[in-house]
């Protein structure tokens, strides 16, 4: 497996970037953090738009930057695709000409994607003969992604590609990005300040703060780490569960998911049995119940999962976060009073009550 290894040291008058990254070059890695945390600087360093004076960058056996050996490949000689926050389509060219701009400049021997394939994945057939300024924001961003893909990149960099779009347009584009990595297998680095987007897309997330990587790991782990609660700011801490569709119950309008032998019910999903579905569970939507599993529990809550208490952290005067293990991390936000009543200790068996409606993540910001 190829790895992406990067070390950058950049000092600006009022900002410092000091980053070391060593990740498998596969799937989607999200760079997450507040504005000014260095996400964009980092992705610009990766692209070669910014040159870190003490920098090192390689993808697999290709070294793109090694200042100790005076190696620096300028951006146009790196096999990367870059999608900017603002689409940056060329206004004097048609959509078709925009799409093939990079394609025509990619040596035939290096081409791994075809125009037809990209047009099909992104659903932009009907836009080809238009001018960029006649497209909606969402359409522009799809064309930009296509244009970058057509250079057959070995690494695709997306710099907040959805931030200028409204909720509906975001919902329209997310599935395309998911298809990209499933069908073209290009590793993606995705900059975002939206937990929602990251939860829906990424496998790995790096949390950036003040120019440093404060945490990096699988999305489910990073977003449910109690010690990161403060660093994640206002974002709700939760759990990310990659479950499998087990069966449909159309009579009740529900779909049952399976995750490591436990069941989760969600509103009916038009996906095949066996398909993977990622669900996001907010800490505030998880309640805890003590009890013996042999006793019959009567409750209107559909989703009851067996869990083990791992750790507890005080959030404020009245709230405590409890980290649980359900085969992956899950966080429950409960009151101190409840904690006192339940007398939880690490290692204890509990039942986590989860409201079914909270399972499928909706884009809200």
């Amino acid at each position: 497996m190829n790895r992406l290894i990067a070390r950058f040291d950049v000092t600006y008058p009022n900002f410092q970037l000091h980053v070391e990254l060593d990740v498998p070059a596969t799937g989607i890695l999200a760079l997450f953090g507040p504005s000014g945390s260095g996400k964009t600087t980092l992705i610009r360093c990766l692209a070669g738009l910014e040159r870190a004076p003490h920098g090192f960058l390689c993808l697999g056996d290709e070294v793109w930057q090694d200042e100790t050996r005076n190696i620096y490949e300028p951006i146009h000689r790196r096999p990367i695709g870059y999608v900017f926050q603002d689409a940056r389509l060329f206004p004097h060219l048609s959509v078709r000409s925009n799409l093939v701009y990079g394609f025509n400049r990619t040596p035939v021997s290096q081409r791994t994607v075809s125009l037809e394939q990209v047009i099909d994945i992104l659903g932009i057939e009907h836009l080809l003969d238009r001018r960029p300024h006649k497209l909606s924001g969402g359409e522009q961003q799809r064309v930009t992604i296509g244009r970058a893909l057509l250079t057959s990149p070995r690494l695709l960099l997306l710099d907040e590609p959805l931030s200028s779009l409204d909720v509906d347009r975001k919902r329209e584009i997310l599935p395309f990005i998911r298809r990209l990595y499933k069908e073209i297998h290009v590793p993606i680095i995705y900059v975002s300040h939206s937990i929602n987007e990251i939860v829906q897309l990424a496998q790995l997330v790096a949390l950036l703060q003040e120019g440093r990587i404060a945490a990096i790991g699988p999305v489910g782990e990073v977003f449910s780490r109690l010690d990161l609660r403060k660093k994640l700011g206002r974002h709700p801490i939760g759990a990310v569960v990659d479950a499998v569709i087990a069966e449909h119950e159309p009579a009740f309008g529900l779909t049952r998911l399976d995750y490591k032998g436990q069941s989760l019910y969600v509103p009916f999903q038009s996906l095949e049995v066996g398909a993977e579905l990622r669900v996001h569970i907010l800490a505030s939507d998880v309640g805890l119940v003590l009890g013996d599993s042999s006793l019959l529990m009567l409750t209107s809550v559909l989703n009851v999962l067996r869990a083990v208490v791992v750790d507890m952290t005080e959030v404020d005067q009245s709230t405590v976060d409890v980290q649980l293990d359900i085969g992956c991390p899950l966080v429950a936000s409960i009151t101190k009073k409840s904690l006192d009543a339940l007398k939880l200790t690490p290692g204890q068996q509990v039942f986590a009550h989860i409201k079914a409606v909270a399972l499928i993540e909706e884009l809200t910001d």
């Binding site: 692209a47 738009l49 300028p74 951006i75 146009h76 000689r77 990367i80 695709g81 870059y82 900017f84 603002d86 689409a87 940056r88 389509l89 060329f90 206004p91 004097h92 701009y101 990079g102 400049r105 990619t106 001018r131 960029p132 300024h133 522009q140 244009r147 970058a148 250079t151």
Partner: protein
């Protein structure tokens, strides 16, 4: 016919001079305009002021310096032995300085309006810097080119002071329309002066009208 053969040769010299001047300025001025639009150098404002200087400088002052520089004892003359003063090519050099701001400033403004963003996009699509300049920045700055070419051409046609100082209004060689008008008035040939002046007036108006129409018709769409 009121106009003499010399008047027509003045027209021919004028057109040749204006074309050559614009050509020279496009070749020399484009890199300067590009540099001005993209540099962070502290010399930028100084160069900008130097480029704009011919707008405010009396043409005779500019002409005087150029005459001295191009004369037999000037830096070029003493180094190479070539005297450009009072020749057509001397006029081209003088006109290039005189019309420099009218070509460089529209180009500079156009390159600045295009900005760095589309270039970064082009580079990321494997275009080399020169490729990106030719296929992205230049087409996007087309209005700057049109304005620069037209204004540079028209302004060169209208020059008088520099031409007189550097060229001396030698018939058939360095006598252009503007100096021809002056020569006709000097000897009280008002009819000829009228005709040439009317032609120049109409031409200048049409040129400016054309520039404004083009700027209105082909707005650059920046998303």
């Amino acid at each position: 016919m009121m106009l003499s053969e010399l008047d027509f040769s003045a027209l021919w010299v004028t057109l040749r001079l204006a074309s050559m001047t614009v050509l020279v300025l496009l070749i020399v001025g484009t890199p300067i305009a590009w540099w001005l639009a993209h540099t962070k150098s502290r010399f930028r404002t100084t160069i900008e002021a130097l480029v704009a200087l011919p707008i405010v400088l009396p043409p005779t002052v500019l002409g005087f310096y150029i005459l001295v520089a191009l004369g037999p004892y000037g830096p070029i003359g003493s180094l190479t032995g070539i005297t450009l003063a009072f020749t057509f090519w001397g006029l081209v050099v003088g006109s290039a300085f005189y019309s420099m701001p009218f070509v460089i400033q529209p180009l500079h403004a156009a390159f600045e309006a295009v900005g760095r963003a589309p270039l970064e996009a082009a580079w990321s699509l494997r275009a080399s810097p020169l490729d990106a300049f030719l296929t992205v920045a230049s087409p996007m700055a087309i209005r700057g080119y049109v304005s620069g070419i037209v204004l540079g051409f028209a302004h060169t046609m209208g020059e008088f002071g520099v031409v007189l100082m550097v060229g001396g209004s030698i018939p058939g060689k360095t006598r252009v329309l503007s100096t021809t008008v002056f020569d006709h008035v000097e000897v009280m040939e008002y009819t000829q002066a009228h005709i040439i002046s009317a032609v120049m007036l109409l031409f200048s108006f049409l040129v400016l009208l054309g520039v404004y129409i083009i700027n209105r018709r082909f707005p650059i769409h920046v998303s």
